[in-house]
């Protein structure tokens, strides 16, 4: 983990609710796909945890959904402004068990950390299959970006306005070697119940510190209580107590 000032290079709306912010700074603090950053915002006491979509050289890309005060404030920021960021938090995804054709399942803004994961898997010579789920056609983002990496991409929308009608679990391919999932808890539960084989799931929780001190974001696991921020956010399927 590193605490540093990052400078906003780009901050733009991708869809009516999803935004992309590109920051420059010591992005090397991010050491694994699936890690997150915790951002201090003026006038707000708690930092806002946001997952890392891409880390490339000194550039850090964050995708975020505008859901409240903190993310509204982020969306109003301009290039050139600086942010106090704790970077490289959490464990991240482990690519070792991926196999040749891993499956990446993203729900809504949960697609964000899968991008850096897909990049890493491609660099390791794997052939990721990506299934992205959204509510409707106007919320779809990054399908083309995953394709450009060389991934097979399927999009599902809940209202059927784009791609397969339904949820990511309605668009599971027949064959895959391992899975990685990130999205709302209801989606993770469905993936846990329906997807064959083993995998890793990335969780979201309200956090106090983001680095393991306050015990604000604890989940019960088969190995006892674990902190989503420090022991997670990624947990192996076998650890999850559902």
């Amino acid at each position: 983990m590193k605490k540093a000032l990052f400078t906003i290079q780009k901050n733009e709306a991708l869809t009516p609710t999803a935004w992309r912010m590109v920051l420059t700074g010591p992005a090397g603090a991010v050491t694994a796909p699936g890690q997150f950053v915790n951002i201090a915002l003026p006038g707000l006491f708690l930092r806002r945890p946001i997952s890392v979509c891409d880390a490339d050289g000194d550039a850090l890309t964050l995708l975020y959904k505008v859901v409240g005060k903190g993310t509204e404030q982020m969306a109003a920021m301009e290039p050139g402004e600086t942010l106090d960021v704790l970077a490289g938090l959490g464990n991240g995804f482990d690519t070792a068990p991926a196999g040749e054709r891993p499956l990446l399942l993203g729900g809504g803004i949960g697609a964000a950390p899968l991008y850096l994961l897909a990049k890493k898997l491609r660099a390791e010579g794997k052939e990721p299959q990506v299934v992205l789920g959204f509510n409707s056609a106007d919320e779809v983002f990054y399908a083309d970006k995953f394709k450009a990496l060389g991934c097979a991409v399927t999009v599902a929308t809940a209202d059927g306005s784009f791609g397969v009608k339904g949820f990511v679990t309605d668009a599971l391919p027949d064959k895959y070697t391992y899975y990685y999932a990130c999205g709302p808890e209801a989606m993770l539960r469905a993936v846990f119940a329906k997807a064959e084989g083993s995998g890793q799931l990335s969780f979201e929780e309200r956090m106090g510190c983001g680095f393991g001190a306050c015990m604000g974001c604890t989940r019960e696991t088969v190995h006892g209580p674990k902190r989503v921020c420090k022991d997670g956010p990624v947990f192996r399927k076998e650890e999850i107590a559902w």
Binding site: K3, L44, L46, R206, G208, A213, C214, G216, T218, E220
Partner: protein, 304 residues
């Protein structure tokens, strides 16, 4: 050269800055970031007789100038603290540490304190009779002077190290609580724990915290804490540890002028993991600015 050293119940601290229990874990998350021996000491995560998961999530909420928590004393229990956490801590922290203890009965407090009192690393016992986030324990001992005195007597009977009682601000007369603890044999008082509070989620129209209520901390509570430290200083002669929203070296000095012999830093550690280190490092310069040579000379200086 200014002197930042203070005395807390007979043990010298190189400076009065002490990360507060529940905001610093068992120290080693912070030891990955900086050498935590720059701190006076720290108070480790509230420990109970048995392991506790704590409350369901969400446990954390934002508020103006602070935050609410309803963690509910999650901890691995005193056995695991002694066999796992303290040895790990010994590798990174070489000063006496403050053991924070909570319980659900007088016997619980006495048992856990006796166990931790026997650990050579432990310098002080901070007895938390003020957690607002658990049911049937914690704060219920801290809102009744007779119950508080009973806990103090039971702990004192089985321990040898200084016993500092951590009080809740959720009372009508904080001075009466402090006097009862002093009369029962407490060696020090620490205050304040968090203020009982809540938030409602406008989207769901229901309480934001799963526990419904939580404890408010952060800069918003500083003036309340300062007032209570001032009142307790007038009521007792044992040392006071002041805490509640302390975020700067200036806040530390203000707390000491109100009567604190040492000062705990809580919520600030969660927003900025370097907060306690930076506050301790800033003290000499701020002392110089206000013409303070010896920090211990200013304790209670605001009183007539």
């Amino acid at each position: 050269m200014v002197n930042t050293a203070v005395d807390l119940c007979g043990i010298e601290l190189s400076n009065p800055v002490i990360p507060a229990s529940g905001t610093f874990g068992y120290g080693y998350e912070f030891a990955e970031l900086y050498d935590i021996n720059c701190l006076g000491t720290f108070s480790f995560k509230g420990t109970t007789r048995e392991p506790r998961f704590g409350n369901p999530t969400p446990r954390i909420a934002e508020s103006t100038g602070g935050m609410l928590n309803a963690v509910g004393l999650q901890n691995p229990g005193v056995d695991a603290v002694i066999t796992e956490e303290l040895p790990k801590l010994a590798a990174v922290f070489h000063k006496p540490v403050m053991a924070n203890v909570s319980g659900f009965s007088v016997e619980d407090y006495a048992y856990t304190c006796e166990r931790l009192d026997a650990e050579p690393q432990v310098g002080w016992l901070e007895v938390n009779i003020s957690c607002p986030n658990v049911h049937g324990g914690g704060m219920s001992f801290g809102t009744d002077p007779a119950a508080a005195a009973e806990v103090v007597k039971a702990v004192k009977a089985v321990t040898t190290k200084p016993v500092i009682v951590k009080l809740t601000p959720n009372v009508t007369d904080i001075a009466a609580m402090a006097r009862a603890c002093e009369a029962a044999g407490a060696d020090g008082i620490s205050l304040i724990n968090t203020l009982q509070a809540m938030r409602i989620d406008l989207k769901t129209k229901k309480p934001l915290l799963a526990n419904v209520t939580g404890g408010l901390s952060g800069p918003a509570v500083f003036p309340v804490a300062l007032r209570m430290v001032y009142q307790v200083y007038e009521a007792v002669s044992i040392p006071i540890m002041g805490m509640g929203g302390v975020s700067s070296a200036e806040d530390v000095i203000e707390m000491m002028l109100a009567g604190a012999a040492a000062v705990e830093v809580g919520a600030a550690n969660l927003r900025d993991p370097f907060a306690s280190r930076d506050i301790a490092a800033a003290l000499p310069e701020v002392m110089d600015k206000y013409g303070i040579q010896n920090l211990k000379d200013i304790i209670g200086g605001a009183h007539g």
